[in-house]
């Protein structure tokens, strides 16, 4: 855990410094007339202190050799794939519309989970896409993007 704390404390420290600078630029104001950066200044200032404390504690902490666990165990590539496709889906949906982009996303997700034949994921994703389209778009009147193909 020591290495994780060292890395994460540095991340929070960096974030806190950025917010601190941003809040000073916005105007911290005075206690009698607090500015719009007042709370952010206080919160990020405290976060700087806590991050430094965490870093120092982790730095001086003794850890028995072999205790540290790997950060990513198991099938972490699946995690990256799913996250990547979520972002890809968000970018694709306005252009391709709900039906096509959701079909593609679900096929990939079902395939990631199964990793066998492609037929099963394709059938499942066709059913799921159409069913959710009927329920949410036709019954509940949600406005999904139609995309280039207008459906």
């Amino acid at each position: 855990m020591r290495a994780y704390d060292l890395r994460s404390s540095l991340f929070w420290l960096l974030l806190a410094i950025i917010v601190l600078i941003g809040s000073i630029r916005m105007g911290v104001g005075r206690p009698s007339n607090p500015g719009m950066g007042f709370l952010a200044f206080g919160a990020s200032g405290l976060l700087v202190i806590f991050s430094l404390l965490l870093f120092l504690r982790a730095h001086y902490r003794k850890e028995k050799p072999g205790v540290s666990l790997p950060l990513f165990s198991g099938d972490w590539k699946n995690v990256l794939l799913v996250l990547g496709f979520l972002i890809f889906y968000s970018a694709l949906m306005p252009h391709l519309g709900y039906l096509i982009s959701t079909f593609l996303l679900l096929t990939v997700l079902f395939w990631i989970m199964e990793r066998a034949s492609i037929l099963h994921p394709v059938l499942l994703s066709i059913c799921s896409t159409l069913l959710t389209y009927v329920i949410f778009s036709k019954w509940l009147n949600l406005q999904f993007p139609e995309g280039l193909f207008s459906f």
């Binding site: 009698s32 919160a43 979520l86 989970m113 799921s128």
Partner: protein, 501 residues
């Protein structure tokens, strides 16, 4: 209106067809969410919140609350039959419940869990009625300094009750405050930390944030493992516990209900902590502690009662003070705000239909849950058999639809993916999301009260000390913080002395 008239009025509201329907839908979805691992009550509520925009605030709240206490019921089924907690608040039920199931006593385990949940749910509703109204009256005298102090002490209590490191929980609360700062400034109307993006002028949306941190993170974490479940093949007969079972479990239920109710009120307490405390108490006072770990029915009855009682208890700070004590209540808080209702001491006076309708719907919901969980247990066992490989892509799709439907913008999908990845990394690095969510929700109010208090006092921070209620809250929070720091300082001192010697 006296208490009796209010209860009658509440039942009148609950038995309106639309409200009754939403109550039934809420507890049904709650039970399903509880049974299925992979999506918790917070993500489920976030998912369904947009679906309640077209109904009355009362129906919306009745359904969302139904999901919460329904989850507590459903979680026990998975714990007892699969030895995997459907919900974090059912973790402890695995210990004794699964052992009972292995001995062929799954029926009594499920039965006592359902009855314990029903009794505790009912008791907590009575407690809620008795405590919330006087507390709201008292809170009417609170001004900005009192509210600021109350929120600060709430956040500090929350970080103290966090499961991991208090240090990291405090850091998460600060990150939540910063996140809550994004958007237009409440006093000047100018944008803050929006990075030039128009979509951020209203701040980071609670739905994509919660769905990312709770929903997507949970799925990503499960994707790493093999995620295979094996349902115990056991008899599901004799769901009605025997007289001997009742005799052994009755006081455990009462104790669990009291513990759950009291811990539910505390910020950060909630259902999870209540189950652990209840189990520890039962084990400690048992005449036969050696039975624990081998299928002691008290170890199922106590924690299952505690998690349901906590659901009722945690509504008290939200409905009477306007302060959500845990992320689930933060979702209800957001639902109220979205419907244009300000949670706080005036809620009971200005919206009696909402308050009494919600309270009495919990009586009705608890009775519905008993019907759903005992005679229909076979259906939930079938639901448990839905394979992960089908379930997870569908949960992701529902998350995407839920988030998109909030504002009809893909920007929210990016936000959800961002916080999904962030939540996953936070979990890996040992940071708890609950303080972040709560601080994010409370942030704007905390800031408003702080700035108003300072304007009143013309910049003097002494206003928080000179006013007795505010001072009492801050002193309590300070003592709590010190109580955590002192053992650490003592330990370091001992290490230093040892080094010197």
């Amino acid at each position: 209106m006296d208490l009796f008239d209010s209860i009658l009025y509440g039942f009148q509201v609950t038995f309106e067809p639309a409200n009754l329907l939403f109550c039934a839908v809420g507890v049904l979805i709650g039970t399903m969410v509880g049974v299925l691992p992979g999506i918790g009550p917070v993500a489920a509520m976030a998912l369904l919140l947009p679906a309640t925009f077209h109904v009355t605030p009362t129906a919306s709240l009745i359904m969302l609350a139904g999901i919460y206490y329904g989850v507590q019921y459903g979680g026990s089924t998975t714990s007892i039959l699969v030895n995997i907690p459907g919900e974090a608040s059912s973790v402890i039920t695995c210990i004794e419940g699964y052992q009972m199931a292995k001995k062929g006593r799954a029926g009594p385990a499920l039965g006592i869990a359902a009855w314990g949940s029903f009794l505790a749910g009912t008791m907590s509703v009575v407690g809620l009625m008795l405590v919330a109204v006087p507390l709201a009256r008292a809170a009417l005298s609170f001004g900005p300094p009192e509210y600021f102090a109350l929120m600060c002490s709430g956040l500090i209590i929350l970080t103290n009750l966090a499961q991991g490191s208090i240090h990291k929980a405090l850091m998460m609360a600060l990150v939540g405050l910063i996140l809550g700062n994004i958007g237009l400034d409440i006093m000047t109307g100018l944008p803050r930390f929006t990075l030039g993006l128009n979509e951020l002028t209203d701040g980071v949306g609670i739905i994509p944030l919660v769905m990312g941190i709770f929903g997507i993170t949970e799925i990503l974490t499960n994707l790493e493992g093999t995620a295979e479940r094996e349902i115990l093949k056991t008899s599901l007969r004799n769901l009605w516990p025997s007289l001997k079972d009742w005799a052994e479990a009755k006081w455990a239920m009462v104790r669990g209900s009291i513990i759950g109710f009291l811990l539910g009120i505390l910020p950060g307490g909630g259902a999870i902590l209540a189950t652990f405390v209840s189990y520890a108490v039962e084990k400690k006072i048992s005449r036969t502690p050696e039975k624990f770990g081998h299928g002691a029915i008290e170890g199922v009855a106590g924690p299952e009662s505690a998690n349901n009682a906590a659901a009722g208890g945690s509504l008290i700070p939200l409905l009477s003070l306007g302060i959500p004590p845990n992320p689930v209540m933060a979702m209800l808080f957001s639902a109220l705000i979205i419907h244009g209702i300000q949670p706080g001491p005036l809620l009971i006076r200005d919206h009696p239909d909402l308050f009494w309708g919600l309270v009495t719907s919990m009586y009705v919901g608890n009775a519905l849950l008993l019907v759903l969980n005992l005679p229909l247990i076979g259906i939930w066992v079938q639901v448990l058999k839905v394979p992960y490989k089908v379930l997870f892509p569908l949960i992701i799709l529902f998350c995407l639809i839920g988030v998109y439907s909030m504002n009809n913008t893909v920007f929210d999908l990016y936000v959800m993916a961002f916080f999904g990845a962030g939540g996953y990394l936070m979990r890996k690095f040992g940071y708890e999301p609950a303080p972040l969510i709560l601080a994010y929700v409370l942030g704007p109010q905390l800031e408003q009260n702080l700035r108003q208090a300072l304007l009143i006092s013309q910049g003097s921070f002494m206003i928080f000390i000179t006013r007795p209620i505010s001072a009492a809250f801050l002193v309590a929070a300070f003592l709590l913080l010190i109580s955590n720091v002192l053992p650490f300082v003592k330990k370091r001192r001992k290490e230093y002395d040892a080094f010197e010697e």
